[in-house]
């Protein structure tokens, strides 16, 4: 009983090949037959608002569905590229290895001479294609999202040992207001943004927590 869009998310998050992927996180194909509750198609910005889930009466069910929607942002290449499991960030929708070759370094900020901030500024640049946001750096390995299913991602994000010690309220705050997270929606230079908006993503997170912060069931196939 896996909605097709969840398949897409799983496939997208696994892919590391040089082939160009279809836009992950874009409007999904819906089949009412596979979804427990028929959700309306996402709006033009590609991300359903919390209200779209109001029809799911069971809070756990609703909570799981809300997180699945959030995962369409979090497992998008714009996010996963800097949440790798290895020692190098990735680039582009195809999620190829970062070029020039960049190594994680002991503090997830690059090695001497190739620190993230030696190139990346606190905002995107006008003529150069280098993306930027405040405190540009790699997510630590415990926050690697590469290859995760929505279910595994959810457990990871909720776990204070693996999320930088955040409680649920802080997770929502981070989602709604962190400037580096914000970059995903305004990546510059023609890069595909993650779906929706940060405000909507924050609202989804809040709604997910309010409904019990349940995690999708582990059904994604590898």
């Amino acid at each position: 009983m896996i909605p097709k869009w969840l398949h897409l998310v799983a496939i997208c998050s696994l892919a590391q090949a040089a082939a160009v992927l279809p836009a992950c996180g874009g409007p999904a194909q819906e089949t009412a037959a596979t979804a427990p509750v028929a959700l309306a198609a996402p709006p033009a910005d590609g991300l359903r608002p919390p209200e779209a889930f109001a029809g799911i009466s069971d809070p756990s069910e609703r909570s799981r569905a809300l997180f699945s929607e959030m995962s369409r942002v979090m497992l998008h290449p714009r996010c996963v590229n800097c949440h790798p499991s290895g020692d190098s960030p990735h680039q582009r929708d195809a999620m190829t290895l970062h070029d020039p070759p960049v190594t994680r370094g002991p503090a997830d900020q690059g090695v001497v001479g190739m620190e993230c901030t030696s190139c990346h500024q606190d905002k995107n640049l006008a003529l150069a294609r280098v993306p930027g946001a405040p405190k540009w750096h790699l997510a630590p390995k415990i926050m690697a999202w590469e290859g995760r299913s929505a279910a595994a991602l959810c457990e990871q994000v909720k776990d204070p040992a693996r999320n930088g010690g955040k409680n649920l309220r802080q997770i929502v705050e981070h989602a709604a207001h962190d400037p580096l997270v914000a970059w995903g929606w305004a990546p510059g230079a023609g890069r595909t943004p993650v779906p929706g908006s940060q405000a909507k993503f924050g609202a989804l997170a809040a709604a997910w927590v309010e409904a019990g912060a349940a995690c999708p069931k582990e059904e994604a196939r590898r």
Binding site: D99, V102, G113, A126, A128, V130
Partner: protein, 155 residues
Amino acid sequence: MTELIVRVNGTEQKLDVDPEMPLLWALRDVIGLTGTKYGCGQALCGACVVHLNGEVVRSCVTPVSRAAGGSVVTIEGLSPDGNHPLQRAWVELGVPQCGFCQAGQIMTAAALLAKKPRPTDAEIDESLAGNLCRCGTYPRIRAAVRKAAGNASGA
């Protein structure tokens, strides 16, 4: 235009420029320090590397506003007389060919040695991964960094 104050090679410079102007052009065109080079404008080649507050930045993409109130060192200021161990090793081993990338290479290597006085071969390659050389002086660059680090045989 706001006036920005940047200390460059120990001298205070008052820059009356667009704060978004990349530091590279402030150095080259406004102050007149042409030792730092333009190779790509996209932080892909490292020819523009300088030190900002002791750390490597690629000046072609670093807005001058980021250097405001800070201290910049360029190749001209790496040593008073060309006697930085890297500069000496570079000359002794005949590292440069055309020489255009070498300021960036040396500045990156200098930052590396300042933080890791005895880098391994892998660390040298990782830190210099962003510095391109079309003439192919890489083997000699590696040897010169090891020599300057006092580690001729490499680890």
